[in-house]
Amino acid sequence: MTINKDFFSPGRDFNYDFQSAGRPATGWSSADRVPELLVPTHCCFCGVQCGMYLKVADGKVIGVEARDFPHNRGSLCPKGVVAYQQVEHPDRLRTPLIRRGGKGSQLEPASWNEALDYIVSRWKQIQGEHGRDAVAIYSGSSMTNEKCYIMGKFARVGLRTRNIDYNGRLCMSSSAVAYARAFGVDRAPLPMTDIPLTQCMLAVGVNIAECFPIVMQWIWRARDKGACLIVIDPRETPLARTADLWLPVRPGTDEAVINALLRQVIVDGLVDEAYLRERTTGWDKVREAVEPFTPEVAERLSGVPAERIVAAARLYGGAAISLIMHGKGIEHSSHGVDTCLACVNLALARGQVGKPGGGTMMITGQGNGQGGREVGQKANQLPGYRHIDVPEDREYIAKVWGVPADELPWEGAAAPEMIHLMADGEIRSCLIACSNLMVSLPENQVVKRALQRLDPLIVVDFFLSETAELADVVLPGTVWCEDEGTTTNLEGRVIKINRAADPPGEARPDWEIICELAKRLGRGEFFAYQSVLDIWNEYRLASKGGVSDYYGITWEKIDEQGGVFWPCPSEDHPGTPRLFTERFGHPDGRARMFPIPYRPPAEEPGDGYPFRLTTGRVVYHYLTGNQTRRLGFLNSQAPEPWVEIHPQAAARLGIVTDEIVRVRTPRNSMELKALVVPTIRPDTLFIPYHYGHEHAVNQLTNPAVEPNVKIPEYKACAATVEKLAAPVQPAGLNGVVTNFTPENAPKMFPYTVGETKAPSEKDAKAF
């Protein structure tokens, strides 16, 4: 949770200080201008994708105005209000940059020809010497579906490399796979406008108030109608503050609580047996598997008082319509898929999934997190949720792309695995778009060494991110409102982003850059797009018949309907706001239930590291902060990270608020300000993750990953906090409990890659 600004500069009275709130980088000079045009579009930040108008005068974006769109009803969070200030920002990259003197020299402005020719000549050389897979693409999900689609196609058809993946791996891949396994379709099954229909909300590991402020209005509407609210979170978030019940869980132990809730629902006789019989398979095993999870056992594992678990189960189980919302708190975990599946089991046992307002809802974090994971930029995936290992899927996409199916590469490395391939020299060059690995990946000193081995490292971005600082070539891209296209928000609603301004200087839309590279690689015939609409129409065709079928979604229909929910298989189809009302996505139409054992996080506290460190967002920043840290208002509210620590722990260590302390994990240490507050468990520390360099909490986090989907365990590692004057401890494990090691759980540590996939992993990726 955020704090008053006097935390950062003590003694200043911000309420009476007009100069303190940060200015847009260009000042307020356009204050008296009258907009000529209101361009309807959406916010570029989180997965909610709020509707907004951009005010335009003389071809420049000068402000923002509310837009009454179905899911945000004109509201905006502080990030949305100031998002427009990125457009004219002086930090924008205007020309390509290149290191002419090799590594260690300065980045100098260059022409597009010089930069692109250099990249292509190096790529040809590397691929000739080391094979096609030695060049990789690392993409992102904060850009339009069209751009994400082009990235996947460029890797497979332009570069013909197997190594493409994207930052969605770090975001919500756990719930994506969990939903694909349980339901056969990876999408939130209901729109957020359904939330008020529910009678009980259970929020698991999701700080909705700070990460998705706009969703709060739907939660309040449900509260106004009498719905109760239960929150499972190690911190008393603003959502938990007003909840009926707060279950303060130890980071990484949610499985125990969810299983205990299900067990209690069974004990109280609140299971919907008819639903389970008709619409699911696997219930008997699940019932057996949760039997050992008595409230007392769960209390011992998770630290949540047993009576709160029982009370929560009665509230949840007693509601006729109940909704589980879950987010990164359970997904950023070495057993993220299992925890999501445990939530699904609970909702299925209550017969909720498919009811209006009931079931489970994953709250996807990234702007186009939903769309980005369907369009085929994932290591194992082709457009429309097609699988790269399925022969029919390969045939279909190869036909759409006009290439022979046997020329399509196979599955490559997942994002965290790529780092190790770079370090080992298997990947020798990488193009990174829309991602800031130096802030986003765990154990970032390893990431830095890996990136420095690349020659060349190419970064496409519109600001010089921490990762772009390491690049050999930086290509200037566009911010969201300098290009058009579609995104898919956390509900599965496809919406339209419109162009409001021209790119500054020589900056070009990402898709144009990619098409230009393809042309120079001699593959231009496959990338002959005249406009974004051409790409969209090709993607509609590529997704036709897939799980996420966009074929019937035209830009006109998006405008007419206020967004269209996929699947939408034909042009006369209105789209599908609610999924699973009659059947699930599996061939037998039934949901699958999986017994979920308890597994601890990969690393737990021990003698030298008595705390659990967890990381998360604050409301003012988005992901790695590359955009939001540059916006005056947002940065003035939270210019640097801090560590939240409970008063009991602080008193024991003699730590007070505002004091600079050292937080240490077996990997590294960092110094930052302490915030002593009772809104966190006494055995837990919290640090926000939006910051770079010496402020990056990913210096400390554990690189263990979920064995199947490779999502890193950002939310739980062993740590200690100490006063600066404390003697420096020797490096080493120092008593930390390591539940899984590279030796006994190799798939959790992405050192071996891609080649050997056990059957269970294949199953997980079959959707």
């Binding site: 949770m1 955020t2 704090i3 008053n4 309420n15 009476y16 007009f18 100069q19 709130a21 307020w28 204050a31 008296d32 509310a66 004109g74 509201s75 905006l76 969070c77 502080p78 209000v81 108030a209 700070e210 402020p213 706009i214 709060m216 209005q217 309040w220 509260r223 106004d224 009498g226 008393e236 978030t237 603003p238 503050r241 007003t242 009926d244 707060w246 303060p248 409230p295 007392e296 008082p305 047993a306 009576e307 709160r308 029982v310 009370a311 509230l315 409301v619 003012y620 208002f633 947002l634 509210q637 409970h646 009991q648 608020t657 915030l675 002593v676 507050v677 009772p678 809104t679 468990r681």
Partner: protein, 207 residues
């Protein structure tokens, strides 16, 4: 016609300061927020409270009453405007007189500044920027009947300072007086089942 006004519901405030960011976007005072969000006590809770001008009606605008140069004007609708720059002498009487601590004094401009209920927007039938942006509708704009139809909570527009009552145009929203759910009873029932009797076993830190 029903009177449209602001309803301030601190129970719903999540402290995101979207209202502050939005207020700064207003064309009449770009970059300066007239709304404030404060943590009530961050050392205890994450509770936050937005403060806007309450537009006092009875007694009418104490800030305007103490202004020696009649710089603070009140519209026929009862909206208290910020000080007229051509009149304000920077004496700060209004800052001290306001019972809610609303007027801000801009030292550089030597001018009092405060919320005027987005007069430029509301007079055009738009919502004030703060209520327009507010993601949680902790700041909500509309008329009393509409509020009572849509929302939980008990709006009040009389604030007592000792024996002095102040009736304001803007409402604060208090929680409903009867709790809908007896959590204490639910927990004690659960406690009985988990084999605990009598004393509460929860650790003291669990709020």
């Amino acid at each position: 016609m029903a009177i449209k006004t602001l309803f301030v519901d601190p129970a719903r405030c999540i402290g995101c300061r979207a209202c502050e960011a939005a207020c700064r976007e207003c064309d009449s005072h770009k970059g300066e927020s007239m709304v404030m969000v404060d943590f009530v006590n961050r050392g205890i809770s994450v509770a936050t409270q937005p403060t806007v001008c309450m537009h006092c009606q009875d007694p009418v605008a104490p800030c305007a009453q103490v202004c020696p140069v009649m710089a603070i004007l009140i519209t026929p609708e009862g909206v208290v405007q910020q000080a007229d720059p051509s009149r304000c002498i920077g004496c700060r009487n209004c800052v001290y007189a306001c019972p809610f601590g609303v007027p801000k004094f801009d030292v550089q401009a030597r001018l009092m500044k405060k919320c005027n209920l987005c007069y430029d927007r509301t007079s055009q039938d738009l919502k004030p920027w703060c209520a327009q942006a507010c993601p949680t509708q902790a700041l909500w704009y509309g008329d009393y009947e509409e509020f009572m139809n849509q929302r939980e909570g008990h709006p009040v527009n009389v604030t007592s300072f000792g024996e002095q009552n102040v009736r304001t145009r803007v409402y604060h929203v208090l929680p409903e007086e009867t709790p809908q759910l007896d959590i204490a009873a639910l927990l004690s029932e659960a406690r009985a089942q988990t084999g605990q009797t009598g004393k509460v076993r929860e650790e003291a830190w669990v709020l």
